[in-house]
């Protein structure tokens, strides 16, 4: 979330699309309801009429996998009806930038496509530069090569007829949503988007979110209270676990994983683009300080300038090669791993194509599963149709403590890092995860110490491992390491920080090895003032920022991009809901920002007399040029979102172009990878979702009697029309089948699903929750991911679990 949960109350229009917040993030509605009381409008767009839809002012249905068509139509509407916020566009976005002459989008393909590799050469996806190297601009937005005009041309095809024939949404419903939402383009109005896996789990997942980001920029909704682009995270610490870099492509703090593209630390430290514009903060130019401080946290005293602070001890990924979830199970299926560790996760039910995942687990020599309960992963060797006698995999199950049996912090969707205390000792022989990590590594260090001929033992022997107190994992020691220390006396601007002091903020981190910080984004979270995440002082009056409750990254900034919430003089677009404002009298008469922690201390772009202020910086400080990007030149599948059908779809043609599916989407080729489009055996669109009473694969909730009683078994929701077609009655047991797997479920025949009219034909869609598994309860059903395909977004490779093809029949 660029904003945070309580800030929803500041919105004038809340679009809930790609999520069902009332069901899956119920407490968000506390703040949505507050906004509605103030007159805000709520729009729900979903294939199914959900609990969220029931609370909304307006509901529109769309077929799963057609969000870009829907949103592309909104972009066209905003531009053609001049609903955009022009000052914001010109001053804060790349709308005025001129794009390279070679760039084009022709019949669904952008310039530079290579059929063989299914990849783009992105050389033409670039801005035209002036002699200094800065982007050339046309502030009038008239030049046909400026981003704004290219955007207008690109979406000119997204007219109501074509959009409606693709999404199945009635034209009047499209128009109603476009009108309601684009009203937030007015100065002082704020619109927000709440999305979740309904947008991400597609072969166009990233571009779904980009399409909305473009809308938010057109309407001037970024940085303001009640605005932003807000991903509703589904796990209590999935924000934090991402921040801490448990992903193949990033180290903690979103620093790229080393690859041969940067063979040495020196190469790595100069990889970020430079800006020739003195008004661009280009914040990533500080990366060397963050990377060297991270290496000092990794390797402690063993990290020295002479050994490049241990950079060479970090493993390198091959440049451009994906090592994602889908690739892990593909490699495992091919027998390319001997060992696998599944820590606090249930992949045999949670990822797409569970049949493939379960088959892959049987090819391992050993599997370690750390969890609270048994699930489909720990028990895969005795699953349906599996003969344990034929499964060679050794399985270790390590029982871990639950959250209230240990101490530490988690980070919510709104980037709030909140401290949890230990209420009780772990039950039985369960251990806190931190304890398991420490003890396992202690043994590994010992093994490598004893092995005099050990292969490349340096990283194992040198990784800093002093996080125990009296032999037990100590979360405070880690939290301090993540914040960072001064490792020697350092003088910065007349102030001397002593060796051993905690670094007060990331602006003070150094690139010479004199500071450590496990994650620069969390620097400022645990300082000599104490554990900031544990703070409990509520805001007395204001817009709900609660700056002294817990802590949020970066540097306790509650709404990011907040310098775009003001005009060039520093006056808020909306005075009643000001995030920050420039107070000329503050700061001993020199002027200062008041309100939220601003995106940098620099003064507004204009002085009080209207003259440009050379001390200012542009608001979007993480971009090299300092402007928000509507033109996304760095993505795998194009600078502008374009509608493509899901890999499995019910139509033979795409009404927008000759490209039926995303030309860069990955597919796989094992015997368990089968994809079927427009196959009469699988005529219905399938999608997956969650219910309030269960969580994810249900591993933690299926074992709880209250929750299981409320939602005891797998069901499939379908329309009355489809039920009639298949002779199914409400409550019947039915078979749901895709090209990859099948499930037995109870039919729920409901008006919540209605058939779509797509390209003149009737298309049915069914929906299945994915909380169940064969382990428990008996006859509760199995994972909906038995049906989903191994394909995904070309940028992130998140699986396409939200749109695939199935059949339904009575048993």
């Amino acid at each position: 979330m660029t904003n945070h949960w309580i800030d929803l109350r500041n919105s004038d229009c809340i679009l809930i699309m790609g999520s069902n917040a009332a069901e899956n993030h119920p407490i968000s509605f506390k703040w949505i309801t507050d906004a509605m009381k103030r007159g805000a409008k709520v729009i729900s767009v979903d294939p199914r009429f959900t609990r969220t839809s029931s609370k909304a002012d307006f509901y529109a249905a769309l077929r799963s996998g057609t969000d870009i068509a829907f949103l592309g139509g909104m972009i066209k509407y905003i531009i053609e009806n001049e609903k955009f916020f022009k000052d914001y566009l010109v001053d804060y976005t790349d709308a005025s930038f001129l794009v390279s002459e070679g760039f084009e989008c022709k019949d669904g393909l952008f310039s530079g496509y290579d059929k063989e590799s299914k990849k783009y050469n992105k050389a033409t996806w670039a801005f035209v530069k002036d002699e200094k190297g800065n982007p050339k601009k046309d502030p009038t937005l008239q030049d046909p090569r400026c981003v704004f005009q290219l955007l207008k041309t690109h979406y000119s095809r997204y007219n109501l007829d074509t959009v409606s024939a693709t999404t199945g949404t009635p034209k009047e419903d499209l128009l109603k949503v476009y009108e309601m939402y684009s009203a937030t383009g007015e100065k002082g109005k704020a619109g927000t988007i709440m999305y979740a896996m309904g947008w991400t789990q597609h072969t166009v997942g990233v571009q779904n979110i980009r399409a909305m980001s473009i809308i938010q920029l057109l309407l001037g909704n970024m940085g303001v209270a009640g605005g932003g682009v807000n991903a509703l995270r589904g796990e209590s610490n999935v924000q934090g676990s991402t921040d801490q870099g448990i992903l193949f492509h990033i180290l903690p703090g979103y620093l790229s994983t080393p690859s041969p593209a940067w063979p040495t630390l020196a190469d790595y430290l100069k990889r970020r683009p430079k800006s020739a514009d003195p008004l661009s903060a280009n914040w990533w130019q500080n990366e060397p300080k963050y990377m060297v401080s991270l290496l000092k946290s990794f390797f402690g005293d063993a990290a020295t300038p002479e050994n490049s602070f241990g950079y060479d001890w970090l493993p390198k990924v091959d440049t451009g090669k994906p090592y994602t979830w889908l690739d892990i199970f593909d490699e495992m299926h091919k027998g390319n791993f001997t060992g696998f560790i599944s820590w606090g996760q249930n992949p045999a039910a949670s990822g797409a194509n569970s049949k493939k995942t379960r088959a892959a687990l049987a090819k391992l020599d050993w599997l370690v599963n750390v969890n609270i309960f048994h699930g489909e992963t720990s028990s895969f060797w005795k699953g349906p149709d599996v003969d344990p006698g034929k499964v060679k995999t050794e399985v270790f199950f390590l029982p871990c403590a639950v959250s209230v049996e240990k101490e530490g912090s988690i980070t919510n969707s709104g980037r709030w890092m909140q401290w949890r205390y230990k209420a009780v000792e772990p039950r039985g022989e369960a251990w806190p995860d931190g304890e398991i990590i420490v003890e396992l590594m202690n043994r590994l260090k010992e093994l490598y110490k004893q092995d005099k001929k050990a292969i490349f033992p340096e990283p194992i022997l040198n990784v800093k491992w002093d996080y125990a107190t009296e032999g037990k994992f100590d979360a405070h020691k880690l939290a301090k390491e993540i914040n960072g220390y001064f490792l020697k006396d350092v003088t910065i601007q007349d102030k001397t920080y002593k060796k051993g002091e905690l670094v007060p903020g990331f602006a003070l981190l150094q690139a010479d090895g004199s500071t450590s910080s496990g994650n620069w984004l969390y620097c400022n979270s645990y300082t000599d003032k104490g554990n900031m995440a544990a703070r409990r002082t509520r805001e007395k009056e204001g817009i709900g920022l609660h700056p002294q409750w817990a802590w949020c990254w970066p540097v306790n900034r509650r709404i990011i991009y907040n310098r775009a919430s003001v005009d060039k003089f520093g006056n808020p677009w909306n005075k009643e809901r000001a995030v920050i404002r420039w107070d000329a009298a503050a700061g001993e008469g020199k002027g200062a920002w008041v309100g939220d922690v601003p995106d940098g201390p620099w003064p507004p772009m204009l002085k009080a007399d209207g003259a440009p202020n050379p001390a200012t910086k542009y608001p979007f400080i993480m971009k090299p040029e300092g402007f928000a990007s509507m033109f996304g030149g760095g993505l795998a599948d194009g600078p502008f979102p374009e509608h493509y059908e899901p890999i499995e779809c019910p139509v033979e043609k795409n009404l927008f172009s000759a490209q039926l599916t995303n030309p860069t989407a990955p597919t796989y080729a094992t015997s368990d990878d089968i994809y079927k489009s427009c196959d009469p055996r699988y005529p219905f669109v399938g999608t997956t979702y969650r219910v309030c009473e269960h969580w994810q694969t249900g591993l933690m909730t299926r074992w709880q009697p209250w929750l299981l009683e409320a939602q005891p078994q797998l069901f499939v929701e379908m329309s009355h029309e489809l039920a009639k077609l298949r002779g199914i009655n409400n409550g019947d047991r039915v078979l749901v089948e895709s090209a990859r797997g099948k499930l037995e479920a109870v039919a729920i025949v409901t008006i919540r699903f209605r058939p779509f009219t797509v390209q003149g034909s009737v298309i049915h869609e069914v929906g299945i929750p994915w909380h169940y598994g064969w382990v428990y309860p008996k006859d509760g059903g199995d994972s909906a991911n038995l049906l989903t395909p191994s394909t995904g977004d070309p940028n992130t490779r998140i699986p396409e679990s939200k749109a695939f093809m199935v059949n339904v029949k009575k048993i």
Binding site: G240, I246, E331, G339, F340, G344, Y421, K422, L707
Partner: protein, 191 residues
């Protein structure tokens, strides 16, 4: 006015003393609240944050100090600015996650081709896992890739998880895996 947990108890206590009678009869709400107060009066209160979705609701965990520290009640934290005491069905059931007879409370091992689990000690489990990791790592360690570029990585082990861990544990787990040379490191955020 924001009602904090403690002021709420004061108000309800006063209401009970006044035997609050509404227009239609006795209002039971204050009395139920008072009964809860009595039950929890000697319990230890610990604040926590819900372990399910990403909203980050606050809860209070009540533990029985006299009875060996079991969790006897969990409820929404009325002082928490996000949820102000409210919880969804899952959050409200948190005590059933802790006090659950289905939890696995000792390490287990399943041998190759075996049909059953066996209980093992932590020391045995961790020592054997460490040996397996070392064997798989050393056998698959790759100093240079196919192009001859230095990569120093372990190709034969993959790791997933977890968004269910605390930040401090997350940081430490990635440090461990990277020091072992793993590059196949993923978790819930990818899916």
């Amino acid at each position: 006015m924001k009602v904090t947990r403690r002021s709420f108890f004061k108000i309800t206590g006063a209401s009970v003393a006044g035997a609050a009678v509404t227009g239609l009869g006795l209002d039971l709400k204050p009395i139920i609240s008072h009964a809860q107060t009595l039950k929890l009066r000697h319990a230890k209160e610990t604040t926590t944050i819900c372990c399910y979705c990403g909203v980050g609701c606050g809860l209070i965990v009540h533990t029985n100090q006299a009875g060996g520290g079991q969790v006897i009640n969990t409820e929404g934290d009325p002082d928490h600015p996000i949820n102000e005491g409210a919880l969804c069905a899952k959050g409200a059931a948190l005590s059933q996650l802790v006090n659950n007879e289905n939890r696995i409370l000792a390490p287990l091992y399943r041998a190759p081709n075996s049909t059953e689990w066996q209980h093992v000690s932590w020391d045995w489990a961790l020592s054997n896992i460490a040996k397996r990791i070392k064997k798989s790592r050393d056998a698959s360690f790759t100093a240079k890739n196919a192009k001859g570029e230095t990569v120093n990585r372990t190709n034969g082990i993959a790791h997933v998880g977890s968004a269910a861990l605390d930040n401090e544990e997350c940081w430490l787990i990635q440090a461990m895996m990277r020091s072992l040379g793993l590059v196949y490191i993923e978790h819930q955020a990818r899916i």
